[in-house]
Symmetry: C2
Subunit: 593 residues, 2 copies
């Protein structure tokens, strides 16, 4: 069973949750119409289905090989990457002046979902290149830009992010890699970096490493970190003093090399500073925020892939006789209510996560493209608020949905040849990298809730309430208890938000930190439910207008399922958050080893 | 990091949740005192820690090999199994008249947890042998018993359960394997069986297959299934007409062979009937109920193992500076509230699942050993009610806890050498085999709730309420909101139970089936919370009595954490169940592929 890009659901979410049409009308997207977007998505879907997806299983089985410092990707991988760049997909959202197409982050997000659904191990590479492009475009000197951007935009070269060191994972303050000025404007970089995705590979002639390191006189902590561009191959064609020492043996995404990189075995790798001395963290955040959204999209992607595979199996596999079945013999297991619950849970979580990611993407687009500075600032804050939710919720549900996908397969799900197990193994990295989901939750509560004195989050809650009001007014019996259940979830979110804002403001960090993870989930349940209701309302309006597409009724059914079966978890999360940090007092006892 | 059997928590749960002391006082356990049980558990713990646990990682890496019909286990495996049987562990709960020690299921359950925490791939083999012993002991002829039981009890031979065929997994009615009477009292068995755990291996000289098959004149469906004993080696020393055709390439438990078995390539394997013609399902249920509890214990086991590993890592790994830390530099990550939440969630879920499994085990013991027939019957119904909860909840949380364990490790969790990933890969089979967790939930709602007209479940709910009353009376401030939160959860369970009992009684199967999975979880939250409160109350009483063991305060803290952070999910589950099966009407639309 391979992947079929769900282009029409994707487009529907872009238009009716993420406000594609409004943004287009507002002139944010130049001449990109919904029709043109649809055409581009269809083409991307075909590429994902026909070229990338067939490599996914083989990439898992064979993985990458490492010998004498060189990494060889799975057969077929190199060719697929080349075809992908030649079709222009890498350049989609990149700056026009360097050969990119300058298309919206929203459109590219839909594509990122598809590449990653086709193969997460394939999809993660370009995420890093795109991050490198952005950091360089915003913070690089003209000289660096002219030398590197065009080739990164075309995909002829790839980029990496070199942050992590053995003692410095989540805590970048602990970085030790060093950069010495060489006197000619360049630097000599030394140090070891671990977990470097696509740090070495055979798909391109050059690899552009973006490396965090400390200058000799740098202050301690994160304020003493600078960012350097360190190419594998120097402009004069010689090999830089950087090498891949080894690759990791991982649980999943076997086809993507995860490298330990050594800089400066022979006196130091030549690097150029990006963004000025001690400004590295700032530059890195430019890369990381977009990478966080992209990793959230990986969660959506793997969930969609797992759902499609489980759905196909449930239609085909026959066991038992379903209640009320009018057929002879065994029924397809999709007719059993408990299997339906599993599949609907998978589909509803996937759709909610997709909606949250696309909302975030639209916020990013508007933050760059709106004519009004006020709207840009508001959009930027909205995107900042939603980014940790997009990253953490989507990747959490990626794992949950992939696990449910195995379960739907029964015993076959545990057999590697089936492919369902790979999705869970692949999915499991996404809650970890680009900032663990715990860190996302802390970021949401400690840094994002207080934006504009809490106005940003309150405006977001107000927009969820407006959706519920519309459901009450426009919804039919097919919406079931959508309105009351969503309202309950949003009120829980509102109370929990007030509680945490107060905790943050009154310098009660333990309360805020203890409630962060359940709060992020609560936020996602309310936001995801509201977004699916937006989808359902749009579908309802189209049906009223005579549109006979059966997908519309399905959208209403999915919204209802989410509200009645998933959003109802909100109250328990609220109680957890409001019970505060008291449990921490005794935690040390309970966790004494 | 290896495993350390948590003997004192295990014993405490046996005594203060599962009523070991009362059962001993009632004379159910012959001369087994709590002290003797402690000694036995200490010894079992040592064996698990020192002999089995060190093999676990190697077993995962190397797995088993298959060549020319023969299966070779991981180096060291055979010797460990031999030492384990020679120490008498296989015989622990087995009938005395065949060389067993006749010790309680409760005591053996604690041991089963330890074997499986040390290595799930090791632990699953003896579970099947024990099932075979029970089926043979209850249903076998004297002749069969005298020929096979002693060697199965000693562990000199192992047993298998041959149920599944490609077209017949959850639905045994679809079985096709055939058995022809040979005229001499034996039968000739032909057919293919898949997913046969330890169907072939090199640890013992003989393997005793228990095989479901149909007689020529058997009725269709499950009423036409008979059980046969089919030894690999016949009494005359010749090889029976059965062979292993291939082994599966699985996501986890790599060291346990999962075989496709072919019976009757050369005219039919010689078999002896067990339990009479067309009585196979009945016999199989004897094996399966105990196997279900054992698989539940695997869930507890892998959760405990994952918790221990994550806990050790969190004490050791330093990142960031914790709020309020008085130490210089980076803090161990265990000092961060979000990591504490993860670890407490892992520990609390594990402890709750353990308590439910041990409660089930005590019910089984009393159902066999009590002098009063009424008490035996009631205990049997109680154990029947709890068995699907023990199996499904424990294995679900096994997956959840193992996944959290990876998360606590950050990037290291995704690297196979760390070992955390193996726990999730191993854990993932347990919700599937011995009846998927969906089937457990349906069994709970459709067959177990109606036991004694609903009296069995109502009595269980009453006992949970009694615990809450005691918490209200005896609890201190350290119990926090335990009483109100647990009471809410139990009242949710009570209402959902009433709703589902009515649905089952009024022949509304869709309502009952649609709510089954959330109901099982709801039941476990209330029962698990009440059981941890029993633990906490006992700890509190000991502290009042002057016992200074710091583990007691930790037990109260854990109970509180569960009530305030996990049991609070009950209300949402109740709402889901009470919203009924309406979502199914539109499900077909939402799930159209």
């Amino acid at each position: 069973m391979t992947y079929r890009a769900p282009v029409s659901d994707i487009l529907f979410t872009m238009r009716h949750v993420a406000g594609f049409d409004r943004a287009a009308t507002d002139g944010l997207f130049d001449d990109l119409s919904a029709d043109l977007a649809a055409t581009i998505l269809e083409e991307a879907g075909k590429f994902a289905n026909d070229v990338i997806a067939p490599l996914n299983r083989e990439g898992d089985k064979r993985g990458v090989t490492f010998k004498d410092g060189a990494v060889t990707t799975t057969p077929g991988w190199k060719e697929a990457y080349k075809a992908w760049t030649e079709a222009g997909w890498n350049a989609l959202p990149a700056p026009v002046e360097y050969g990119g197409q300058g298309l919206p982050v929203l459109l590219n997000s839909a594509c990122v979902e598809m590449w990653n659904a086709a193969s997460m191990a394939f999809g993660i590479g370009p995420v890093l290149t795109l991050g490198g492009i952005e950091a360089l475009h915003v913070h690089g000197t003209e000289d660096l830009k002219s030398r590197y951007l065009a080739k990164l935009v075309s995909g002829e070269w790839t980029a990496t992010m070199n942050l992590t060191e053995p003692q410095a994972g989540s805590d970048l303050a602990a970085l030790r890699a060093r950069a010495e000025p060489a006197g000619d404007g360049t630097y000599r970089i030394t140090g070891q970096k671990i977990f470097i995705t696509y740090g070495e590979h055979d798909m391109t002639d050059n690899i552009v490493h973006l490396v965090l390191a400390r200058l000799p006189d740098a202050p301690a902590g994160t304020r003493g970190i600078s960012l350097f561009l360190v190419p594998k191959i120097l402009p004069d064609g010689t090999h830089n003093d950087v090498r891949c020492h080894s690759i990791e043996h991982k649980m999943g995404i076997h086809a993507s090399p995860t490298c330990t990189m050594i800089f400066g075995d022979h006196g130091g790798a030549v690097g150029w500073i990006v963004g000025g001395e001690n400004r590295g963290l700032n530059c890195m955040f430019t890369m990381m925020n977009n990478a966080r959204l992209a990793v959230g999209l990986q969660g959506v992607a793997i969930a969609e892939r797992a759902y499609q595979q489980a759905l196909a199996y449930a239609h085909e596999r026959r066991q038992g006789r379903a209640v009320g079945s009018t057929q002879e013999g065994m029924s397809p297991i999709i007719e059993h209510p408990d299997v339906q619950r599993s599949l609907l849970t998978m589909k509803a979580l996937t759709a909610a996560a997709r909606a949250i990611c696309y909302l975030t993407a639209e916020g990013i687009d508007r933050s760059h493209r709106d004519k009004s500075e006020t709207r840009r600032r508001k959009a930027n804050e909205r995107a900042s608020l939603l980014t940790p939710v997009a990253k953490a919720f989507s990747t959490d549900i990626g794992v949950e949905v992939a696990s449910l996908g195995i379960q739907v397969h029964g015993g076959m799900g545990f057999i590697e040849e089936t492919g369902a197990a790979q999705h869970l193994r692949d999915a499991r990295i996404a809650p970890i990298y680009e900032g663990t989901n715990g860190i996302q939750a802390i970021d949401l509560v400690v840094r994002k809730l207080p934006l504009s004195g809490g106005e940003t989050v309150r405006a977001q809650i107000a927009s969820m309430r407006a959706t519920v009001t519309r459901v009450m007014k426009e919804g039919t019996s097919a919406f079931g208890a959508t309105a009351p259940r969503l309202r309950d979830a949003i009120e829980s979110l509102d109370r929990a938000t007030g509680y945490l804002l107060k905790a943050v403001a009154s310098n009660a960090p333990a309360e805020a930190l203890a409630g962060a993870t359940p709060y992020l989930r609560l936020f996602a349940l309310a936001q995801g439910g509201a977004a699916l209701a937006d989808v359902a309302l749009a579908a309802h309006a189209l049906m009223e207008g005579g549109d006979k597409d059966s997908a519309h009724a399905a959208r209403i059914a999915l919204c209802r399922f989410f509200a009645e079966n998933i959003a109802v978890g909100a109250k328990g999360l609220e109680e957890t958050i409001l019970s505060g940090a008291d449990f921490l007092q005794d935690a040390s006892l309970a966790l004494a080893s």
